[in-house]
């Protein structure tokens, strides 16, 4: 469903990505892993349109998307979360989700200003749908709180909820478990799996928590210094000698179900 | 034909030199603070009017008047930064734009109150016959304006490249936190940048007044044109600012000469909009540099 083809990207002489290609299958949870600075976030930024690649193409459902820019890519059905949480901090939890519904609704300036019945209907529908999403991610009880007051774990989950509100077919998660404790990480893993199983949304996951990655992903792509060094099922990746070499000296990244010294 | 063209060209270069100085003034504060100081035009007016005050009203000798005008402008720049920019805590962009606008209005109000609404003029720096090039008449003062602008540019170049203070100011613009870490007093650099930009503006005002007169409300239009020159050259780049300033001056003078004198003021705005639309990074700066900018 998503296919990244021969992507090159450099930042002022520093090559961040060289010739990256991989595919994501419909309904899969795809993990992108690799040491810090391997280019994972850059890659997500390219897929979501924040950066333009120097060379290469990204196809989404058979359509070229790289030059569309972030908001049109989002409307095509790719939604995302951010490594450093980018919630609308001054708005309530519910409002955050409601903004997510923006692209799926259409009330204009004029009709909103004069409160046409169609607008009122749509507004009620946005509210209903948003509350439904909040309950789905188990944040219903927080709905009227200001988003920046939530603990980081719930902020990350709220960000996923907001991404869901746009009605995506593909969702990109940039280190959703960063800063989360063990219980929060487990809840997160459940939500990710739930949205794939029940909502049939394909997931691309950039993550350092190997325990989480190995537990929930269907396939893993490993990046190092801007290149793909391995690809396969979690089991294959765990046994891949190149991956082990890449991760030597980064043991703290590999805690959990995987050891750099087998 | 040629004579007329040259005449327009030289008068364009003369006003263009002042736009270039305003644009450089924008760059100096922008580089140190990421603020576009919208009061920049008022400093030009201050330069012209204070010079008149010292040399014509108080009848002080020329060089004393120049020195006192520069001093006055520097003090106003200093006061502006210390009284309005420094006390702001966590200012956002909108607030910073508005505060410099507010200061420009206060300055304009003070100027209007003390000088009234009529235009002021004083004699050219040197008396003497105008220069004749292929029939085009160039007043000596015009040569002064262009010469002084050139001199300022060279001086600023050496200031930023060779002196400790200049290098420190440049460092703040490249990376504020890093500058702090190596022990540069960033707040003081911001202050210097306001003083310096005020002085640069005032010098432009002193030089141009004998040619184009000066009145209290010329500031906003000078700011728009200087900003346009800065954008054209790529904001932050002094070389670009000079080219942009001359280009706008010449285009304006050609429009006034060949099309209609009333439409000359619209030229800068049209150029500004076209550049923002086509190449917002400016003609002489790459897109990546712009991306790295905070605002």
């Amino acid at each position: 469903m998503l296919s990244v083809k021969e992507i090159w990207k450099s930042f002022g002489g520093l090559i961040a990505l060289r010739n990256i290609s991989f595919d994501v299958e419909q309904g899969h949870i795809k993990a992108l892993i690799g040491p810090n600075g391997a280019g994972k976030t850059t890659l997500l930024n390219i897929v979501s349109g924040i950066h333009q690649p120097d060379k290469g193409e990204v196809m989404f459902s058979g359509e070229k998307i790289i030059r569309l820019g972030p908001s049109r890519i989002a409307r095509k059905g790719i939604s995302r979360t951010f490594q450093h949480v980018e919630l609308f901090g001054n708005m309530t939890v519910l409002e955050n989700i409601m903004v997510g519904r923006y692209a799926k609704t259409k009330a204009g300036f004029f009709s909103s200003g004069f409160k046409f019945p169609s607008v009122m209907r749509e507004e009620r529908e946005i509210q209903r749908k948003s509350e439904e999403i909040l309950n789905y991610i188990n944040l219903g009880h927080r709905k009227d709180e200001v988003a920046s007051n939530l603990p980081i774990g719930e902020q990350r989950i709220l960000e996923i909820g907001r991404a869901l509100a746009t009605g995506p077919r593909l969702i990109l998660l940039d280190e959703p478990a960063a800063g989360l404790n063990i219980k929060e990480t487990r809840d997160l893993g459940e939500i990710i799996r739930k949205i794939r199983d029940e909502l049939k949304i394909t997931v691309v996951l950039v993550e350092h928590d190997m325990d989480l990655v190995m537990r929930i992903s269907d396939s893993v792509t490993v990046l190092n210094f801007g290149e793909v060094i391995a690809e396969g099922t979690p089991l294959e990746i765990q046994k891949n000698p190149e991956v082990i070499v890449a991760y030597l000296g980064e043991e703290e990244e590999m805690q959990g179900g995987y050891s750099a010294h087998p | 034909m040629l004579t007329v063209f040259l005449q327009f060209l030289f008068s364009g270069l003369t006003v263009g030199a002042v736009y270039a100085l305003v644009a450089i003034g924008f760059n100096i504060t922008y580089n140190a603070t990421s603020i576009i100081n919208l009061a920049q035009g008022e400093f030009v007016v201050i330069g012209g009017l204070m010079m008149w005050f010292f040399s014509e009203s108080l009848k002080l000798p020329f060089f004393v008047s120049v020195a006192l005008t520069i001093l006055t402008a520097g003090i106003i720049g200093f006061l502006m930064e210390r009284l309005t920019i420094k006390p702001l805590k966590n200012p956002d962009l909108l607030l910073m734009i508005m505060i410099t606008i507010a200061v420009s209005i206060v300055l304009r109000g003070i100027l209007m109150f003390s000088f009234g609404k009529e235009p002021y003029v004083y004699p050219a720096f040197t008396e003497g016959e105008p220069v004749n090039i292929y029939g085009a008449i160039i007043q000596q003062q015009a040569l002064w304006v262009i010469g002084i602008t050139g001199f300022c540019i060279v001086l600023l170049f050496f200031f930023f490249k060779k002196t400790m203070l200049g290098k420190a100011m440049l460092a703040c613009s490249v990376h504020t936190t890093a500058a702090k870490l190596v022990g540069i007093n960033v707040s003081r650099m911001v202050m210097f940048s306001f003083i310096l930009s005020a002085i640069v503006g005032a010098i432009g005002g002193m030089a141009i007044t004998p040619i184009s007169l000066m009145e209290y409300d010329k500031g906003p239009m000078l700011a728009v044109k200087g900003f346009c020159a800065a954008i054209m050259g790529g904001i932050g780049s002094n070389r670009g600012a000079v080219l942009g300033g001359f280009l706008i001056g010449v285009l304006e003078s050609m429009t006034a000469g060949y099309i209609h004198s009333g439409s000359k003021d619209a030229v800068a705005l049209v150029i500004l909009l076209v550049i923002l639309f086509l190449k917002p990074s400016g003609l002489f700066v790459s897109k990546t540099t712009l991306d790295l900018r905070k605002f």
Binding site: G49, P70, S71, R72, A74, R75, S79, E86, L87, F88, N90, M91, E95, V99, R101, Y102, A103, T105, A107, G108, F109, S112, G113, F114, V119, E122, E123, I126, A163 | L38, T84, L88, L93, L94, L95, I97, M98, I99, I101, A102, V103, S104, I105, V106, G109, M112, F113, G116, M221, V224, I231, G262, D265, A266, L269, L272, L273, L276, F277, F295
Partner: protein, 316 residues
């Protein structure tokens, strides 16, 4: 619409209906009319600044287009006043698009400077090419509906504040709708808005157009009320006056625009004009409120009321 806003709107209507009854003198009503006209411009600027985070220094330009275009159309071409007012709003909207599309694609100071230049240029155009040049022109017809012209001060007072009430109703609904939510979201994180599929630039452009149309409407109302206009009413000074109104009232609250407009319109009347000092006085008011009352009057009042209520509840 929230309960407070509905209540405030009711109070506004109540005041508007009552004022001419209590104080029938023409002077009070005239000041009231000018307050209302300024309030329209201020509401537009308030939405632009408080919600889209952009500042315009060219509202006088749109105000001027509104006044001149609608006057010229009705005086020289015989258009009905209502039609010429609407046409003027259209022209202002087009001018706004031309300014906003280049300037708002980018972040930062660009709109501020572009609008500053725009305002100055409109001012120059009115002086050079406007009917009567710098001395302006007169005999502009009053507003009228179905052949019945409104020419009494009281009639105009009701007309203008009626329009203010409608515009306020419209604006409050707008900022509490999907669009308003999007604007608040843009304030917090433009990057996230893009990732949610919001077209950030388009929303900002629309808001800027809205503010231009409000100013244009106000300009037409002004011209057809005073029946004589000259360029001096549409200089940069007016843009700054409106900016001061919005800042003094409080940019984060639409009611601030109305309160600010009334305060800044009534103030010089109370102080018997500042004569030559007016530019300086408004500059100082603007600077000082930016530095010390950044929130503005209305939000500060709301805080006070909340605190008082807090005490009242605590006592119980």
């Amino acid at each position: 619409m929230k309960k407070e806003d509905f209540l405030s709107l009711l109070i506004l209507v109540f005041f508007v209906v009552l004022l001419p009854v209590i104080s029938g003198n023409t002077y009070t009503l005239t000041v009231g009319i000018f307050s209302g006209i300024n309030a329209l411009v201020a509401i537009g600027l308030c939405i632009l600044m408080g919600y889209a985070g952009q500042v315009s220094l060219g509202q006088a330009g749109f105000y001027g287009i509104g006044a001149y275009v609608s006057s010229i159309l009705s005086v020289h071409m015989g258009f009905p006043v209502v039609i010429s007012t609407i046409l003027a709003m259209g022209i202002s909207a087009i001018a706004a698009v031309i300014l906003a599309v280049p300037a708002l694609r980018l972040k930062g100071h660009y709109l501020a400077v572009a609008t500053l230049g725009f305002g100055e240029i409109i001012y120059i155009i009115l002086n050079e090419w406007g009917p009567g040049g710098p001395s302006g022109f007169g005999d502009i017809p009053h507003f009228g509906f179905f052949g019945y012209a409104i020419d009494s001060t009281q009639g105009y007072f009701y007309l203008i504040w009626g329009i203010v009430a409608v515009i306020m109703f419209f604006s409050i609904n707008l900022i509490q709708s999907r669009t308003g939510r999007a604007l608040r979201a843009i304030h917090d994180s433009e990057m996230a808005c893009n990732a949610m599929g919001l077209n950030v630039t388009a929303i900002k452009i629309k808001v800027f157009i809205l503010s231009a149309v409000y100013a244009s409407l106000a300009g037409s109302l002004y011209a057809h009320y005073v029946t004589f206009i000259s360029p001096s009413s549409f200089s940069l000074f007016y843009s700054i006056l409106v900016l001061t109104m919005v800042i003094v009232g409080g940019i984060s609250n639409l009611w601030g625009a109305i309160i600010g407009a009334v305060v800044i319109t009534v103030l010089p009347e109370l102080l018997r004009k500042f004569e030559e000092l007016d530019v300086l006085v408004y500059g100082l008011i603007l600077t000082l409120s930016l530095m010390f009352f950044r929130k503005g009057l209305v939000p500060i009042l709301i805080d006070k009321i909340k605190k008082l209520r807090g005490f009242a509840f605590a006592k119980r």
